[in-house]
């Protein structure tokens, strides 16, 4: 691959958005792990976010369609599983985009405790800042929301329900 080609392809791939988070592209989401030429075939390595995320199939089709449109006829999307995707790969700019769209961004994935910590009703629940009014007076309604990556929260200050992009 000629020098700079890798960056060009990554730039093209920023045109592909996550269908469930259309304000975010797949490069900043961290699911494009690498691009490389295997002979005359362009290989795009992607890693799924959650095991069952249904968006990944749409994303794979969009990668091929977008690269075709830019003249890359021979494209292969390759799934890589290690290292496992983490929300720590989201940049501050990307987190701000989530916030601007009413989704509270993930905190950093804290060093995870053992199972004893998980099975307690009295666990410390991190206060998630409301993306609308900035209040920390919010509560978690459910750790499972509209997509695999989001939890449901409610702001007691502005009385607005909102999504939280879970730390993962």
């Amino acid at each position: 691959m000629v020098i700079g080609a890798r960056e060009n392809i990554l730039e093209i791939l920023t045109e592909v958005k996550d269908p469930e988070l259309p304000m975010i592209d797949i490069v900043e989401l961290g699911i494009v792990r690498d691009v490389a030429l295997d002979g005359d075939q362009l290989r795009v390595d992607v890693t799924p976010t959650y095991s069952g995320c249904p968006a990944i199939q749409v994303i794979e089709q969009d990668i091929v369609t977008t690269l075709h449109a830019h003249g890359f006829d021979n494209v292969r999307v390759n799934t890589v599983l290690s290292p496992a995707w983490t929300t720590d790969w989201l940049s501050d700019a990307t987190k701000q985009k989530l916030r601007d769209n009413g989704i509270a961004p993930p905190g950093s994935v804290a060093e995870t405790g053992g199972i004893a910590e998980l099975v307690s009703l009295r666990r410390a629940r991190a206060s998630v800042e409301c993306p609308f009014c900035g209040s920390s007076n919010t509560q978690e309604k459910s750790e499972f929301g509209s997509t695999a990556c989001k939890a449901i929260h409610y702001c007691d200050s502005c009385h607005q329900p909102f999504d939280h992009f879970k730390s993962f």
């Binding site: 799924p48 959650y50 095991s51 069952g52 995320c53 249904p54 890589v80 599983l81 290690s82 290292p83 496992a84 995707w85 995870t112 199972i115 004893a116 998980l118 099975v119 009703l121 666990r123 309604k141 459910s142 750790e143 499972f144 929301g145 509209s146 695999a148 449901i152 879970k166 993962f168």
Partner: protein
């Protein structure tokens, strides 16, 4: 072929339980729980897809994950019996989920370090998902067990009915032993005391009691299932078998 067999076990447990949970979609007791169970079902079916895809590649006969799922009969399924039981009421579904989640947590904790890097990769991701699952199911066990008389009675009945199906999780045969010795699989016998400690702690706090050693139900790993699995598969497989190769 023991690796193929081992991957079927990992995949089938998650596929069958994921399908059972998906049956709650649209029927959950409250909206948040409906959404939660659908999410957990999606995670489990996603995990199953990854393990079964790898199983098909390991077997080397060109079978895809879909082919393994839709064109095997009950006798060729390798899941634990506990995951195939009908959902019952919400207490039964949640107590079953809790018992399985704690098992799965410890299993995946080991498997993410598997000498087989593909199993390691799938399991590392699945482990992160199961952390959320075990928190969800354990919180509901605590609320229901230590809740109202009605919720306590139902949760206790679920524990009583399910307990005899738990021993099967910790059985190990030649396949398990070979995979564990090779550093590929987990040592399920070593998981047992950890599982018991967590389960006894949570059930105790939930004011639920464990029944005295009922006879264990077992055989799923060898294709011996309850009558419920074939009925579940009949519904799950009917479209794929009526229209083989259909695309939509």
């Amino acid at each position: 072929m023991n690796l193929f067999e081992y991957l079927l076990r990992l995949g089938d447990d998650r596929l069958v339980l994921g399908h059972r949970l998906s049956e709650w979609c649209g029927h959950g007791p409250i909206l948040e729980e409906d959404i939660a169970l659908a999410n957990i079902a999606l995670d489990l079916i996603g995990q199953a897809t990854l393990y079964l895809k790898l199983a098909g590649e390991t077997e080397g006969k060109g079978r895809t994950a879909d082919e393994l799922v839709y064109f095997r009969d009950a006798i060729d399924y390798r899941n634990l019996q506990i995951v195939e039981l009908p959902n019952g009421d919400y207490a039964f579904t949640i107590v079953r989920q809790f018992l399985f989640d704690v098992f799965s947590y410890h299993l995946l904790e080991q498997l993410q370090k598997s000498a087989n890097t593909e199993i390691g990769g799938i399991s590392a991701k699945a482990f992160k998902e199961v952390r959320y699952h075990v928190r969800h199911s354990s919180e509901w066990v605590l609320r229901m067990g230590d809740g109202t008389e009605e919720s306590h009675t139902r949760a206790q009945k679920a524990v009583n009915d399910l307990w005899r199906f738990t021993a099967e999780m910790f059985e190990s045969d030649e396949v398990d032993r070979e995979m564990a010795a090779a550093g590929i699989g987990a040592d399920v016998e070593a998981i047992r005391p950890k599982w018991e400690a967590v389960v006894k702690d949570v059930l105790g706090r939930a004011t639920l009691t464990i029944p005295n050693d009922p006879p264990a139900m077992t055989g799923g790993r060898r294709g011996r299932h309850t009558e419920h699995l074939s009925r579940m598969l009949a519904e799950m497989q009917v479209v794929a078998r009526t229209h083989p190769g259909a695309q939509w």
